[in-house]
Structure formats: structure tokens, C-alpha cells
Amino acid sequence: MSNRELSLSIRSMKILTKRELLSSLYGWGIYGAMFVSFLVSSFIIRNFLKGIGENNIFISSYPLNFPLFISVIVISLYLVIVSAVSISREREQGTLEVLFYGPVSSSSFLLGKYFTDMILYFIITGFSLIYFFGVSLLTNLGFTPILLKAYLLSIFIASCVISFGLFISSLTGRVRSSIIWIIGILIAFLVIWFLQNIFLYFPPEVLSPPLRYVQKALSVAYYFINWISPFSYLSRGMESIQLGSPKPFLLNILYSIIYTVVLLSLSVYILKAKGVRI
């Protein structure tokens, strides 16, 4: 790619990001997602406080980590849906084709969407920091450096979630099918995780041969889900924070970056191959 083409690509990416961002900020979705995430976190914190009130004791090194973890899950669900419909919506409306009449390439379009959702996450993180800092001041639950570490990690998790959504969106031509696909995949992940956990209670020798086969198949599927599902990176990351060791924490960040790059590259390739029309 020549310098001229690169500069055109970067400029169009910036303009697409600006438009998308303004459109999202004028919508209600981001505020709704923040409200729900803070509501859920508040509910968990209220239960903590209730427990402290009843038992006069609450032992936790990082009391706000769990509410933050749940808050990130809620926000991630919002981001995965938003990113999953972002390309298919433009494809369905035909606006993708009009954009591609001009100086817009598949990569600039896709990166425009990616950066929009990342900026949205940064905005949400800003509000979240204010919320948890406020909660800490009001309740004396510790706003620790570990919490900031969790925030840092959540940025990379958001990146995984967004690239996963964009990948699904690049594969689909309609908003409805994007939503069905994303919900279907997440439910499938949950079901496999749930069944795998149930089977863990049974040693293989007590299971009949067909069930042993199912157990093995589930364990293979679970292994792959650990790398495919963006939410696995969240749970692994939170575990690494609890462990307090920097190596798993940094490794998790590195895996998240690789995951993002791979999925975004695949999305660009699919967008080029599938074209702009349904």
C-alpha cells in the first residue's frame, strides 16, 4: 500500500469512527448498559454491606473486584451485541456499499468500528471509575491498586469482546441473524461450560462408555472454548489478578492482543471475500 493510500485509509477510519461514536453517544444504548451494570454492582455491594451488618465481619482483600467483574460482564454483553450488529446493519441497509463507493477500504471500515467500540468502553470505564470510587468513599470498601489493575485488564478483555462481535458481524448479512448467531454461540459456550462442570463431579470409572465419550468430547470442547470465547479471557484475567503474580496477568494481556489481531484480520478477510451486499 502506497503512502497516499495509507493516509486516505487512516483519514476515512477517523471519520467513520467519529460518525459512529456520535451516533452511539446520541443513542440510549450506552447509557442503558451503564445503568444496568451499576444497578447490578450496587445490588452486589448492598448484599456485602448487609452481610457485614448482620455478621459484623467481611473478609476480602479486594472487595470491589467481584462487583467490577460483574459490571464488566454486563458491559461486555452490551459491546458484543453492538459490535455484532454494526457491520450487518450497514450491509442490510446498503450504506456499506455507499461507503465503499468512496475512499473507504475493508480495513479502514472495520478498524473504524473497532475503535468506536473501544472509545465507548473507555467512556464507560471513566464513569465506572467514578462510580466505584464513590462507592469506596461511601462504604469504606477498599479502592485498591488491584482494582486499577483489574480496570487495565478489562480494556484488553473489551478488545477481545469487540473483535469477537465484529467477526460474527462480518459473517452475517442481516441484523437479526447476527443477534441470533451471537446469542446462540454464547448459549452454546455456557451449556458446554455447565455440562463440563457437572461431569467433573463424576470420575470416568463410574460412567458408562457412552457417557465417558461425552465427558471426553466436552472436555475437548471446553478446552477450545477457553481460547475462542472472549469471556474466558475475562475469567482467566480475574483469576490472575487474585493470584497476584504478574506473569499470568501479562500473559493474559498478550493472549488478548493476539486474539484481537487474529479476529480483526479474519474479519477484514471475510468482509473482502463476502462483499458489501447481502
Binding site: S12, R19, Y101
Partner: protein, 311 residues
């Protein structure tokens, strides 16, 4: 301006476009015609870099589209049959967004200027969701002209417009062409194409069958053409002189109007006028009653006649 070399697009073994060699010169209004499924849209999508050709090369403004797609597309204005709009935006916001995308300078002035030209200035703050089909089409035209493109690529540009709207767009195309812009039009409205285009290409089943000026197409398709001459007075001398010409096969007279059936080997109007003047006649009007573009289109596409070998 546009040059395609053996442009081919295959879908699962089916050749939608087959070795297409188009040549559009700078400043031309070029009509691109063909029946449904002929490969017009596929060709246009390849010219826009949206579809990748299976074989062949596209050169636009002398540059290879595969090498500099973004820089070339920045200099093209496109109007498609259907306008795909961001319905939550107003007309002004929509144009402002595209002005940013194309890097338009003095964008506010340019947007207002173009909206005035298509009579949409009064609705510039209206949401696009409330725009009629005709208004959407005009807005699409405005978007295409926003960045002052060197080449206008129009796919059914007057589709869905009422006669006034069609005239407005036709006038706009002519005005833009006079400014030096090359215009490439694909349309089913052959009468519009005939009025506007200096050159037409006809494709069928993915293959180019003809590419020429309207006059040359007529000449190639028929052996004779009718020329109608209106005179102040028709004398026997004039009739005898005209009958003496080899290229005039028949003469029909109705009062002071002569209808001559002449061969199509060349344009004979000057010879006829001169001969009449030499015999003291005064020519009030002379016109060729040739084949319409519609007749030419039907003849070429139904019989799948290739006129390329003769050109």
C-alpha cells in the same frame, strides 16, 4: 478516462462479464446499455472496486484500479439506482459526513450550493427517513457531486423521478459534463440516454456487442436511412437532380417536404443541400429520420449482433 482490458467476472463457472474491453474518453457522456442480467451492474461494481475481477485490468484516469483503489475512488462520484441513506441523519448531516470522508474544502458553501441546484435547500434539516424517492435520488446526486469528481458513474440515475425531476437531473448532467466531467451512465431509459450520450456501449450476456456513437450505430445497423428535407418550393429540376444521385434510392414528396431514402455509407446531408442550392432551392430544414436507440438496442440484443468487428 476508463479503460478495461479483457475484464472478466465468473461466478461458479458462469461468466457474468466476458472479456469486456471498454474505452471511455475524457469529457464524454458514455451510455452503458444492456438487458437485465447482461452484466451491467457486475461491470459497474468492478469499476468501483467493490467486486474483484476474475481476469483483466481496469484503468481509471490512467491508473490501475487494483493498485490505487482509494485514490481513484476519491475522484469518482457515484449515483446508484437505489439510495442507501442513514435515515437518522438530516440531509445536511449526511452531506457533511460524506464531505469529510472525501476531504471537501469549503464544505458548507459547497453543500448549500448543490442542495440549491436540486431544490433541496429548504429540506436540508429534515431527516432522510422522511424523504420521498425522488428527493433521495436528488440527494444521491448531490453526494456524488460533492467532491467535484473527474468521473461520474451513474447507475439508473433518474430512476423513480417524475418528469420534472428527470429534466432537472438531465440538465445537471449536461451542466457537469460541460465543466469537463466525464459521465458514465447505465440506464433503462433509452430516450434519456439518446438525448445525453455521445457514445454508447451495448452488452448482452456479459459480452460487448457494440461501442460507438449513435450515428455510427444506426449506419451499421441499417442499409438505408431516411432524410427529410423541407424546402420553400420543390421544382422538377430539383427532383431530377436528386434522382440522379446513386445514393438516393427513393424520393417521396408531400407538398414542400421531400423524404429521401439514402444509403448509410456516409452522411449525405451536405451533398443534398448543395445540390438543392445549386438548382435555386432554399432548404428550410434537413434531418435524419434514423433508427431510435431503442430500436437499435432491441435489434442488437435480440439478434445478439456484434458490431465490434466493423468498428
Amino acid at each position: 478516462m476508463i479503460h478495461t482490458k479483457n475484464l472478466t467476472k465468473e461466478y461458479d463457472g458462469f461468466r457474468a462479464v466476458d472479456n469486456l474491453n471498454l474505452k471511455v474518453e475524457k469529457g464524454q457522456i458514455y451510455g452503458f446499455l444492456g438487458p437485465n442480467g447482461a452484466g451491467k451492474t457486475t461491470t459497474i461494481l468492478m469499476l468501483l472496486g467493490i467486486l474483484k475481477p476474475t481476469e483483466g485490468e481496469i484503468y481509471i484516469m490512467g491508473e490501475s484500479l487494483s493498485k490505487n483503489p482509494l485514490d481513484i475512488k476519491r475522484r469518482i462520484g457515484v449515483v446508484s439506482e437505489k439510495q442507501y441513506l442513514y435515515k437518522d441523519m438530516t440531509a445536511w448531516e449526511y452531506l457533511n459526513f460524506f464531505a469529510d470522508l472525501y476531504g471537501v474544502k469549503n464544505k458548507e458553501k459547497r453543500i448549500d450550493e448543490l442542495l440549491s441546484a436540486v431544490n433541496l435547500i429548504d429540506v436540508k434539516d429534515r431527516k432522510l427517513g422522511a424523504f420521498s424517492r425522488g428527493m433521495q435520488q436528488k440527494l444521491g446526486f448531490t453526494r456524488a457531486l460533492l467532491h467535484d469528481p473527474d468521473l461520474l458513474l451513474l447507475d439508473e440515475p433518474v430512476s423513480g423521478l417524475d418528469p420534472t425531476g428527470i429534466k432537472q437531473i438531465r440538465d445537471l448532467i449536461e451542466k457537469e459534463n460541460k465543466k469537463g466531467r466525464t459521465v458514465f451512465i447505465s440506464s433503462h431509459l433509452l430516450s434519456e440516454v439518446e438525448k445525453l450520450c455521445s457514445k454508447v456501449a451495448i452488452i448482452n450476456k456479459g459480452k460487448l456487442l457494440a461501442e460507438d456513437s449513435m450515428d455510427n450505430l444506426r449506419r451499421k445497423l441499417t442499409d438505408f436511412v431516411q432524410i427529410e428535407v423541407e424546402l420553400t418550393e420543390v421544382s422538377k429540376d430539383i427532383l431530377d437532380t436528386l434522382r440522379a444521385f446513386d445514393f438516393i434510392k427513393e424520393i417521396h414528396q408531400e407538398k414542400n417536404v421531400l423524404t429521401l431514402k439514402v444509403t448509410t455509407d456516409k452522411d449525405h446531408r451536405a451533398d443534398i443541400s448543395k445540390a438543392i442550392a445549386q438548382k435555386g432551392g432554399v432548404v428550410l430544414g434537413i434531418k435524419t429520420l434514423g433508427m431510435s436507440l431503442e430500436e437499435a438496442f432491441i435489434t442488437i440484443t435480440q439478434k445478439n449482433i456484434s458490431l465490434l468487428a466493423a468498428s
